[in-house]
Symmetry: C2
Subunit: 626 residues, 2 copies
């Protein structure tokens, strides 16, 4: 295919490959004695300096790398980034709206989703920030109406519960943020009396769990699908539509369901005397941005006199006025800052809280763009991950927030990272002779300590991300205890990186009078790298920062490896084969056709399934009895 | 240390190492054409035969391996198991109660927890089954009293909500089963009006989330700790005690809190005329079993006239009558079938449901013990995992239940597997020249498909476990749909193994008229192994089976590798270092002592934390405001 060079053929790469030998000779516990090196390994997210104790009073994200690197390793990694991978140019191209997602011919502009109103960020020569704010303002207004009770359901009751239907990034991103905000005192105050749930899995059991305890009269359903064709999301949407209409009648759907979607084929409406008139159907490519729309129809308008809406959304039965747009330059896994996340979160917490979250992410967007690489948190995080994965050969990464509020952070980042960087070819289509994206997994600490930490201390080497916060969302002090509950939690956060790095030698164990036969079992080899991220607190602003740090770190890894971190062709084949199975199940159920066209094993398994499964009573509807 | 041989020095191991070359030459899509091989790769959990289409009408667990093996590979693996690893003997030793957890000098007898009442299973020459049933009967009686409302709280109200405090296996196992049962129609009926929650993390935020919406008057707290000293569990227990006593007074604790614990130092009571008299304090080792107790005190008694209780439990304020015992031959990660899981689950669902779960696990215990290895589901699963991990070099395993009800299965198995097999030395203490336990992770399908499946299709090779069920817990049919919602889910379950195995070649893509520049991006290399487990349904019985299949599979892996899968020394060092940090935080807060005794990096981080963190107001108590 393409003739472009691979990063692994560059001199800085080869230099790092050789440098591994030097590092292999040094135990991390010895590297940790080099104070100058350790100072370099501490970084703020603000752009005015490496941490050298003089900015202690600032409450910013504090990153500390317990990495298997010498002072000169960082220089070599920066050279790889700057000289070989042209990281600066790639970041600039992203921020400039170039089509860096080349296989889909799209810009990658999730940074525009959280940009201030007056910022100019262009895609194809057009500033997209006004479009972003058009939708944000619309969400703000709509969510305030729902929350205040001025928008009501079909029977006149306020809508206090929201079920957001979406899958992948449309599910994991909003779920992570919702979980994180749930016990933040300010956010919790704003959410009193309200519920937000997420329906993702096409498994009917997930529907049953979501509708359990909910009343259709007081429930608003948000359907999130970029194209409004995602198989799981649309079947769940039709199921929830049935749940609403069977209880409240078909006409209730427009009051109880809204959509978040890009608009591929759109209907165009004009408003006059508070009445919407349909002007016709157009391909969205024509109306690329809201401002474009006005140019295209060649009239002077104010924004609320025209409206566009997806043809599919309308056919579904959703009021076109209640569709919230996003754009093809927003990847699903980067969509939490678009209407995908902002709408359900604003309904639950109010727009002002969500705006703080967006501001936090925007703060990191600025830092990532403007800070020099050696002081740049996402850049250093990304470079050290490449070092761990590619040069030291560690295939996985554990994400370990010492915070129950960040329970869903690891699953979200697992998605962002593994979908972005789990690739086998370069952006130019050349098969890679090295492995890229790591396997991400994790659970909150201290829970993980009583689960898989055994392996990370004495089994395989798994670089760990420890994430903690200085202030607790919900502090507890018990009279007579040695420390507060949050201090107890954080004692572990501070201890684990040193346990991993230093280990415990047989000599130390013998000094502790450990019996001979137990010494090998109680020995810790140490020399295991980690990262500590200390946040000032877990409010909406810092949650936004944390998200953006990881989003950009993952992009940096992909930029260095020279892959396209923004497509996901690997999910297509399973969908195609699932269609064949679906067709077979339909034919077998309705026409008793035998299983054919599959291999022996799958045929056997499918036959067994069909013999027992009762089939679809296609002329009747059945919902869960919960 | 020891001079015992390592498995990697055996002939069958070397033979398999060489055999890898033969396999590397074969693509999985070609191996799948060998029907005889594929028939061998299908296994029932029942002991009377490999599946050869003749037992179709039986509803049992059906395992199908899409493994990178030839017909002769299985023979070589069986030889490794039988000849080199002495798997038969090791299984027998486990079932015979030998101290196979040699570093802790303990039996490993979780199989006894689900054995029928009349079974004899001995530890140190004593049948432990009567002890197991003594506790089960006690749980049955107690849970019925609570559920019926005959046991009430301090203000006379029935206790309808349960918070179970525990961490690690005491948390993840019961949580998995609770989640799985939640929408099973029979279990859901039994749980109507009741709530079960789990408090694990020492993070005060986890307390806040657990007490949110609960009323102390109607809440029962179950404290689960083997030794009653686990730091997280005991601080959470003291916190919940404060929550209860600050609302209802100190005397309410005995009515609202119960314990699950082994009894290290015990108090001994004698009952006469409905009044308990304390006979004295004894070390539990003396009273190894309940029946032993009667011998020891040398009187003829019936079981309800004597009572033992942990000194620590009593000191805590829990009524000794409400302590539910388990034993040192139950590892935490295998404890869900002991009072650890059975008590909270019985309170929520009633004992008869939980008994079905135990019966399911027991069914697999029999199968594992009695089925010949080539027809033995856990043995084959374990052998193929060893093949994947050690011989093909895949470091991870994805656990992918196509079922929202199994949402917590992967986190539980992650714990069982990684804590069991994440070891670096043989059971004799010899450092291993090969890697053991794999990294386990997973999310329910189809959710995972929109998350990390990109990587498993086009990035690293990750062997996948697909788990599905023929019948849905909560079927949904919508009029006019092509298939039922469960069929839609299962279409993906059937499709994914073939997508992984077969892939899609550039030639096929060109035939599909894919543009040249996209061909490398849309190519799937295939050749990726997986396992499909098809269960008849997800009721309590089959959930028990699923659990036991994985427990024994993990044991088989450890038996082959020659490690001790039943200890967990790797979690100790972090605890020790956390104590040092706790001490420092206490001294810094109370006496303003500077941070000392830590390395430069940790000192900096701790100092930063202490400058901001407000410290413990040690003379007052503060609980979350939720």
């Amino acid at each position: 295919m393409a003739s472009a060079a691979l990063i692994c053929d560059s001199e800085p790469w080869k230099d790092l490959k050789e440098h591994v030998n030097a590092i292999e000779k040094k135990h991390l516990r010895d590297l940790m004695n080099d104070v100058e090196r350790c100072q370099l390994m501490m970084v703020y997210d603000i752009s005015f300096g490496i941490y050298r104790c003089q900015y202690r009073d600032r409450w910013d994200t504090f990153g500390l790398f317990t990495a298997r690197v010498r002072l000169d390793t960082i220089g070599k990694l920066l050279k790889l980034a700057e000289v070989a991978a042209q990281l600066r140019q790639k970041i600039d191209m992203m921020y400039n709206g170039d089509h860096i997602n080349s296989t889909e011919n799209r810009s990658v502009l999730h940074i525009a989703l959280r940009a201030p109103r007056d910022k100019v960020i262009c895609s194809d020569g057009k500033n997209v920030v006004p479009d972003v704010w058009y939708v944000l303002d619309k969400i703000k207004e709509f969510s305030e109406r729902v929350r205040s009770g001025s928008w009501v359901g079909a029977t006149g009751k306020a809508l206090k519960d929201v079920v957001a239907i979406g899958i992948g990034g449309s599910f994991l991103g909003p779920l992570f943020v919702h979980n994180a905000l749930q016990t933040d005192p300010e956010a919790a105050d704003c959410a009193r009396g309200r519920q937000l749930r997420f329906l993702a899995n096409v498994d009917p059991v997930d529907v049953a769990r979501n509708i359990s305890g909910l009343n259709p009269e007081t429930t608003l359903v948000v359907v999130v699908s970029k194209t409004f064709t995602t198989a799981e999301t649309m079947l769940n949407a039709r199921t929830m539509r049935e749940w609403i209409s069977s209880a409240l009648g078909t006409q209730a759907v427009a009051k109880h369901m809204v959509a978040v979607s890009t608009n591929l084929m759109v209907n165009l409406y004009f408003s006059s005397q508070n009445k919407w008139t349909r002007l016709g159907e157009k391909s969205w490519s024509v109306w690329y941005s809201t401002s474009d729309l006005y140019h295209a129809i060649d009239v002077a308008v104010v924004s609320d006199h025209f409206m566009i809406s997806s043809v599919l959304v309308e056919k579904f039965g959703i009021d076109p006025a209640n569709t919230f747009a996003f754009w093809d330059w927003v990847g699903g896994r980067y969509s939490v800052c678009s209407a995908v996340g902002v709408l359900p979160l604003s309904l639950q917490y109010g727009f002002p809280i969500v705006e703080k979250f967006l501001n936090g992410a925007s703060n990191i967007d600025n830092h990532f763009y403007s800070a020099s690489f050696e002081r740049n948190l996402p850049v250093l995080l990304g470079l050290l991950s490449v070092w761990n994965v590619t040069f030291l050969g560690y295939p996985a990464r554990a994400i370990l927030p010492y915070s129950q509020a960040l329970e869903k952070f690891a699953p979200h980042i697992q998605q962002v990272s593994m979908e972005s960087n789990g690739k086998g070819v370069s952006i130019d289509g050349i098969p890679l002779p090295f492995e890229t994206g790591e396997i991400d997994f994790g659970e909150p600490g201290t829970n993980g300590q009583h689960s898989f930490y055994q392996l990370i201390h004495q089994g395989r080497v798994v670089p760990c991300d420890f994430i903690g916060s200085i202030k607790s969302q919900q502090p507890i002090y018990l009279k007579g205890e040695v420390v507060s509950n949050h201090d107890e939690l954080m004692s572990n956060f501070f201890a684990q990186p040193d346990a991993l790095a230093y280990g415990k030698s047989p000599e130390q164990l013998l000094q502790d009078s450990v019996p001979d036969h137990l010494v090998p079992h109680k020995t810790f080899s140490g020399n295991r790298p980690s990262l500590s991220l200390l946040l000032p607190s877990l409010d909406a602003y810092n949650i936004g920062k944390l998200l953006a740090i990881y989003e950009h770190r993952i992009a940096v890894e992909g930029f260095i490896w020279g892959i396209n971190s923004f497509d996901q062709w690997g999910v297509e084949l399973g969908k195609v084969l699932a269609s064949q199975v679906r067709k077979q199940l339909h034919l077998s159920h309705t026409k008793r056709e035998p299983v054919q066209g599959f291999n022996f094993s799958t045929t056997t398994l499918l036959t067994r399934y069909l013999e027992v499964e009762p089939g679809t009573p296609s002329d009747s509807t059945m919902l869960p009895r919960v």
